[in-house]
Amino acid sequence: MAGSGKAHMRPEGDRVLVVEDLTVEFKIAKDKVVKAVSGVSFDLIRGETLAVVGESGCGKSTLGKAILQLPKPTSGSVNFLSEELTTMSKHDLRERRPSMQMIFQDPVSSLDPRLPVSEVLAEPLKVWNKGNQVEIDAKIDELLNAVNLDPKVVRDRRSYEFSGGQCQRISIARSLALDPTMIICDEPVSALDVSVQAQILNLLQDMKDRYGLTLIFISHDLAVVKAVSTRVMVMYLGKVCEVAPPDELYLNTKHHYTKALVGSVPIPDPDRAVTKGLIMGEPPSPMNPPSGCRFRTRCPAATELCANEEPQLREVSLGHFVACHHPID
């Protein structure tokens, strides 16, 4: 897999974001380069939730940050609301920041523990001159109410007094403060308990409907992704393997790696809990990725062709794309 290609792009759509041939490499020593993201292309249609899934280290966070130019990608283009970000000046980029927000995995450490909640939320509003104190106070109350926190109770408290789930609500409120167009959520529920996880996922859905947001939802958990996304992009070792709507991806899995991901989700039912389609081993080093299809070293269907030639994304049914020489029937 680990394919390249652009068959899944939708130039006719109302696209908020178009990413093409995005590559991010980290030079970590004289002749050591980590190939974190290698030629990834995708687009995002207004109102869509694109999920990016894959194992730890496959480049999900790097991809999310590269879209925001944190840091700028090694090569490739990122076009946001019809403007190219990779060549934009620092000053112009800064002007675009309010419309692109990011929420992180660890809700507790992403909030400043010294600041009361009201300050955490007021900060972006003040920096961007969004009104006088009265207007800012009203906005803070609106944001807290939106994420189901009682402003009277939480306004003056500091983040260390809150649980993980509450901190994530505050992070979400903060990301909404500047009326963004797009929010990149990087594993927003991975650090949370199952019981709290569901609350945050529902909240994200509500916020999306209420504020007309477009979301990128990064996760390693396919079951979580299925609950919230409209399109899923599966990544492996810096490349795209499969793109499909979530139900189609699950019911009609085409890529051998996706199948392994589906088979690894623990099922809370003792009669069905035996894991199937397990893949062995762990991903190879991104400093020295395999030739051809990057998944071939762990793939049960790999042939010589897979070592010699990189598979390209192609459409196998309407809206379902796979980069594999021998897709599952």
Partner: protein
């Protein structure tokens, strides 16, 4: 089968500035040789304190009461060092974060062979051969090269495999695993759980598996204790628990798990509210404020642990499907 471990009416509390914090409130469970018990519940329900209290690994600020019997001998009254000797090679542990459990400045080789030379009295040469065999068993490619590496050079999954190799190296009778796969990726989690189950069957090792994930315990345990606010609120053989759930809390926990077959875009059922303050002793069922089946009696009186037959116990006045 013979009873390996018995915990009777165990309570643990901590003296805190806000008052006496009751983390475990009179828990009774037992474990047969080779059996696997899952302990589940949301964050803060007392799972870790329960298992650490059993191992005698509590901080000084903790007060523990109740009786622990291991292979017929009461060990809860013994001083810590005697308990440790008694556990000896019989008990091993695996924690959530293998990085903190492994010594960062020592090579993997010396950490794996240590217990073999110290506890089993093997020669250095034999211990090395055994270590290589163990690393093969936990499916580490090129075990000889692995012996020379340091923990920071390994991925989380590899480190957890090393911890498992160390844990099973002395053929323990009892394994404590506290969230052993929570820090791992789903694919690696599945591999590690399979491996644990396979090794346990081979060596007839009993296990206490602590996790907040009902999906993880479903496939890898013989019985389950569900904890809520320091109490075991449901306790049953795994199949019995899933097929004949009695406790509203367990049901709520199960429903809130996102599943692959959930239709996209549907709202997930949530458990509103939160655990009661562990420093307070409110009357009634501790789940009452969050329970969809709550009635007046629940708010007035705490339900006792009820024997529902078929080794199924629960703590509820109005169990799902009615009382026996």
């Amino acid at each position: 089968m013979s009873i390996l471990l018995q915990i009777e009416d165990m309570s643990v509390s901590f003296a805190t500035p806000r008052g006496n914090l009751k983390a475990v409130r009179g828990v009774t469970i037992d474990l047969e040789a080779g059996e696997s018990l899952g302990v589940v519940g949301e964050s803060g329900s007392g799972k870790t304190v329960l298992s650490r209290a059993t191992m005698g690994l509590l901080p000084g600020s903790a007060i523990r009461t109740g009786t622990i019997t291991y292979k017929g001998q009461v060990i809860s009254d013994l001083p810590a060092n005697e308990v440790r000797d008694l556990w000896g090679t019989g008990m091993a542990m695996i924690f959530q974060d293998p990085m903190t459990a492994l010594n960062p400045v020592r090579r993997i080789g010396s950490q794996v062979t240590e217990s073999l030379t110290v506890r089993l009295g093997m020669s250095k040469k034999d211990a090395k051969l055994k270590a290589i065999e163990l690393l093969k068993r936990v499916r580490i490619p090129d075990p000889e090269a692995m012996l020379r590496k340091f923990p920071y050079q390994l991925s989380g999954g590899m480190r957890q495999r090393i911890m498992i190799a160390i844990a099973v190296s002395c053929n323990p009778e009892l394994l404590f695993a506290d969230e052993p796969t929570t820090a791992l990726d789903v694919t690696v989690q599945a591999q590690v759980l399979e491996l644990l189950t396979e090794l346990r069957k081979e060596f007839n090792t009993a296990m206490i598996l602590v996790t907040h994930d009902l999906g993880v315990v479903a496939g890898h345990t013989d019985k389950i204790a569900v904890m809520y606010a320091g109490d075991v609120v449901e306790y049953a053989p795994t199949r019995q628990l899933f097929n004949n759930m009695k406790m509203p809390y367990t049901e709520a926990l199960l429903k809130s798990i996102p599943r692959l077959e959930t239709p996209t875009g549907s709202r997930l059922p949530v458990i509103e509210g939160r655990l009661p303050d562990p420093t307070k002793d409110e009357p009634g069922c501790p789940f009452a404020s969050r329970c969809p089946y709550v009635q007046d009696k629940c708010r007035a009186e705490k339900p006792p642990l009820t024997d529902g037959g078929n080794k199924h116990f629960y703590r509820c006045w109005f169990p799902i499907g009615g009382a026996k």
